[in-house]
Symmetry: D2
Subunit: 371 residues, 4 copies
Amino acid sequence: MSGNTLGHLFTVTTFGESHGPAIGCVVDGCPPGLALTTADIQAELDRRKPGTSRHVTQRQESDTVEILSGVFEGQTTGAPIGLLIRNEDQRSKDYGNIADTFRPGHADYTYWHKYGIRDHRGGGRSSARLTAPVVAAGAIAKKWLHEKFGTQIRGYMAQLGELPIPFVSWGEVPNNAFFAPNAEILPQLEDYMDALRKDGDSCGARINVVAENIPVGLGEPLFDKLDADIAYAMMGLNAVKGVEIGAGFASVSQKGSEHGDPLTPQGFVGNNAGGVLGGISTGQPITVSIAIKPTSSIRTPRPSIDKQGNPIEVQTFGRHDPCVGIRATPIAESLLALVLIDHALRHRAQCADVRVETPVIPGAIAGSVKP
Amino acid sequence: MSGNTLGHLFTVTTFGESHGPAIGCVVDGCPPGLALTTADIQAELDRRKPGTSRHVTQRQESDTVEILSGVFEGQTTGAPIGLLIRNEDQRSKDYGNIADTFRPGHADYTYWHKYGIRDHRGGGRSSARLTAPVVAAGAIAKKWLHEKFGTQIRGYMAQLGELPIPFVSWGEVPNNAFFAPNAEILPQLEDYMDALRKDGDSCGARINVVAENIPVGLGEPLFDKLDADIAYAMMGLNAVKGVEIGAGFASVSQKGSEHGDPLTPQGFVGNNAGGVLGGISTGQPITVSIAIKPTSSIRTPRPSIDKQGNPIEVQTFGRHDPCVGIRATPIAESLLALVLIDHALRHRAQCADVRVETPVIPGAIAGSVKP
Amino acid sequence: MSGNTLGHLFTVTTFGESHGPAIGCVVDGCPPGLALTTADIQAELDRRKPGTSRHVTQRQESDTVEILSGVFEGQTTGAPIGLLIRNEDQRSKDYGNIADTFRPGHADYTYWHKYGIRDHRGGGRSSARLTAPVVAAGAIAKKWLHEKFGTQIRGYMAQLGELPIPFVSWGEVPNNAFFAPNAEILPQLEDYMDALRKDGDSCGARINVVAENIPVGLGEPLFDKLDADIAYAMMGLNAVKGVEIGAGFASVSQKGSEHGDPLTPQGFVGNNAGGVLGGISTGQPITVSIAIKPTSSIRTPRPSIDKQGNPIEVQTFGRHDPCVGIRATPIAESLLALVLIDHALRHRAQCADVRVETPVIPGAIAGSVKP
Amino acid sequence: MSGNTLGHLFTVTTFGESHGPAIGCVVDGCPPGLALTTADIQAELDRRKPGTSRHVTQRQESDTVEILSGVFEGQTTGAPIGLLIRNEDQRSKDYGNIADTFRPGHADYTYWHKYGIRDHRGGGRSSARLTAPVVAAGAIAKKWLHEKFGTQIRGYMAQLGELPIPFVSWGEVPNNAFFAPNAEILPQLEDYMDALRKDGDSCGARINVVAENIPVGLGEPLFDKLDADIAYAMMGLNAVKGVEIGAGFASVSQKGSEHGDPLTPQGFVGNNAGGVLGGISTGQPITVSIAIKPTSSIRTPRPSIDKQGNPIEVQTFGRHDPCVGIRATPIAESLLALVLIDHALRHRAQCADVRVETPVIPGAIAGSVKP
């Protein structure tokens, strides 16, 4: 139950700090017999890695992953999969002045008071760099889910700071550094980021994630509800301050007659449920939306205190993402994949013998589900 | 790691169905030496119980709790605390037609497909009645937190359907059936609910919860972040579709210079963080907001299917809350208390020896924190 | 991970004290669709209950179990199964003098120092009475294992104090109060116990348990080995001081050429492994042997101290088993069943898709396995 | 709850195979502020490493450990500690013929049937090489326990095959390759091993471990008893077939008046309890004894089957320990340390506020405790 392990049956235990020698994780409980190579994992890591556009941190990391165990002759063996990524670009001197002061909105203050000691270099353990092992583990989960159920998990940026990004098509997402599903809005996004960078400020973002082809029945009824575990995983992603499933906060002002998705022999009509009812998957697409706060490490000077409690003014230099949300899409996808594989294994543990006669209705009828 | 247990060190394992003989829970890991009586628990249960106004279900349950173990001569012993609540008003015949059909927006469909068998009486295990043991357990957590840290956990209704409820004062909350912090708006809320009931429809709600006097340092850094565990607990509450911490979704369009709460020797200025930075409590009030969807059991007829997959029309009679959000406030408070006590115990397990020299700054300077 | 919960997927969370109002447990993770009635559970409880011969405690308890949840129309639903047993014969006054003194060999001393408070009535939480809920839960596990795999789990007394009990036949076991597999030795056992009782003393016992028809492949490779979890469960039974699997301590002086059970197309020859190799079941019978220490509550006076640390002489009156081993057989069987079902579920979670071409060889060839 | 993680609050998650690129572990939950260097860990690894005498495997491994995370400026930070050991001497060709056959007494057979795939090189995941990360993690636990409580954990070989090794003094243990507490018997042990090696056979061993200076109160009352968790950890060590605490199996033939260790104001008299009563530490030395079976990989030919189920004769060449017990002492010490630190953290989580007035009596009066 350590605080650095995600999952119950398919578990990911991570280690590492932003500027230590390496980061990585141990993936345990993976079903044996899954074809797996470094390339499968590297492809996902490359989607998240820094330095790929001027809108993200300029730290240079190849994020090259090494599989240390758990794979034999190209297949998972059921033994734990050790994954290692060496840190290559630790310029610790950039962070010298951070050691004795606290940044508004940053984990500096809480780590110091919790542990009485803090690896301040690049945020140490609290750095978003630690999402790389999560993405690596998520690549394995995604592959298994896809082979087993045909599951497809995709995300996109739905809002950048004050700019909503209307969904146009999934096809655009891989074509830009923002994971935006909309080509026309790209110049606006670029300008917005350029202005921010010039101001030494940062902004938030909203990311949506959708999982399609999910079997009905995943999730535990009372506490480990599928949506509860998704909320847990997503709120655990650095800088996330809000999570919605399906209609989310819009459901507050809906009527029951409007919110409940009707069932027809051809499928559900609508997906206000976001693919989860009573904590258990319906078979419809699972839709999640998350709010990411603006980065706390900015050049703009702000009032704060030092370790002795004296008032000071803080400015943060060094290499930081002006919007951590830009690289969050593959991470959110990975977290969703990790929750889903864990519940898929839990479900078959308890219910492998269940046979129901009712046909599972299709995920949703054409046109009724917005991503 | 069973799906009916909440927590890691202070655990709550619940059992029961809406119309079975009894519901209850086992609370394990409670520190010994806490003065505890049935009355401490009953007081919280009475805040949640049904039948107290015309706006909630008319089911008559006294929700009388019996302490079966773990308390000796008025004090907790450290042994598990068994809590039992007999169901008194099971009119199963009300639900006869539910057995073969699925209600839009209800867990009927998912339970049936997951388990191949379903206790349909009153929603069985998926009923909101199962929140009673959570409230009972939460009463113990609240009491310990209050005695140890002076912690106060309070919630209120912030929106009912389309009606936002401006915060006026905590003093009003216990005076009305809605847990509304605003006396003037009560006639509007009453009228809204009366109209809904007449229409045979239901509505959603937004509930805010605030925990004050929380020590700095609670929460694990990577996966069991304090806010992640809060999101997990809240999203696991029946009908919840969204969770926010601090500024929540509003942080998407904030700038970093605006979002980060400045630190001063007198305290934080503002609380966009909602009392959590990097997954660890700051010492400021923890602020949580949740979206509750409208009840799925309504009299309004809707298209659905039966167990054989045939199209039918569903209407639900029987006794249901037209807005489950009305009774959700004490439940959300309890869940927050349960997460906090668990993390308080986890924190001292690892960090009991930590001594930091920096003074902990006050929660917040006067006027800077809205509930 | 609470200390009163056994198992990972099929979990048993117990509560209660010897002289409180009730004892019981919550069984979570049970596969749905298992036919289950109170009678299934009561039959096992009756094998363990006190007062059935003059050689055990004369406390009168019917140990009547009530199923509170998780069963609907005679079948498990997949929801947690709440089980309740009311205590009926609490004569607390018998134990008055125990409150301020510590019995040599008893948990009195450690509970007091751990918790600073202690329910001393009848041993409180440390009483062997708390094995009743384990037996109740074990009855469910046994039934599922039997229906799923044809598993049969049986135990017997192999030694009573200084008297070894040669194995004659399983048929004798249910015919006597000792669970002895040997009718001829019964008069000796009776005399031995009568002499002990006259002397106000107590004795130990050795119990053997065997599980037959176990699928190959149960157990995790490194830490949750099947034999490790068996050792954990058995050492957790009150008064157990030693656990052996297969050849146990005899394997110390065996040669490798002698210990390793040869494989033949007809099956393993011998079972020094006790049905477990590398922590994973072989398909052979699983054989376990446990050492139970003599009861610590005896009439014989012994030196001890009181709560203030003063030297005193202790004598324990009241109703106690002079050999807790006599009623331990059904408990040890239950614990083995609980470990096996948990691993059966864990195994299919990870490995449900595994298909191997090698035929599973039979458990053992005729005559090669001693119980 | 993955099967490759040990512990609940101080957790060790291991990865790696005998002949893969590396082995290692993630240690999570370590209290912050512990001074820790690679040398602290290396010292323990060197006690376990292969190739140090002619009586153990001749595989050449320096077992050089790298700390990847969790330590900053010489102190633990509270973040997970990643430990990496590269495999240096993988001569996979030695094991070619093992791939298609099963060794009697080896995990070959069970791994194959569980996973349907098996890394056969050097035993893969089932190799005793995987105890190295456990020893590395144990070094951290030992250091913390020593600094916090003055705890000392030591083990020795008590029997080698048929040769009992009378305890003479702790001082001898580090002076010989057997961890024997007796210098005079060394020539006999050497001769015994030389004869075995000549015969191509193997033998078992008994190892005793003692932990001194343990606080009273560690252990959970019902299922996670201290002795239950010790039994679990020890039975999980490769090749262990039996575990005893205190008097162990000898307690079967003891009377209650003999077994219960009397309490006096000066301390307990005797230690039949092995330092644990009711699953909770008494403050006396914790004494554990384990039975290790003979190595299954031997040159002596034995009947077995191949993957197709055909009868064959098996002989195992390559580099194997003829008695895995010889290197088991530091591993058993480490496992005991890991269980103790986990319970020390669990105890203070629940009971940090407990204050009892009774003085804790000394561990044992002079002369009463044999190691």
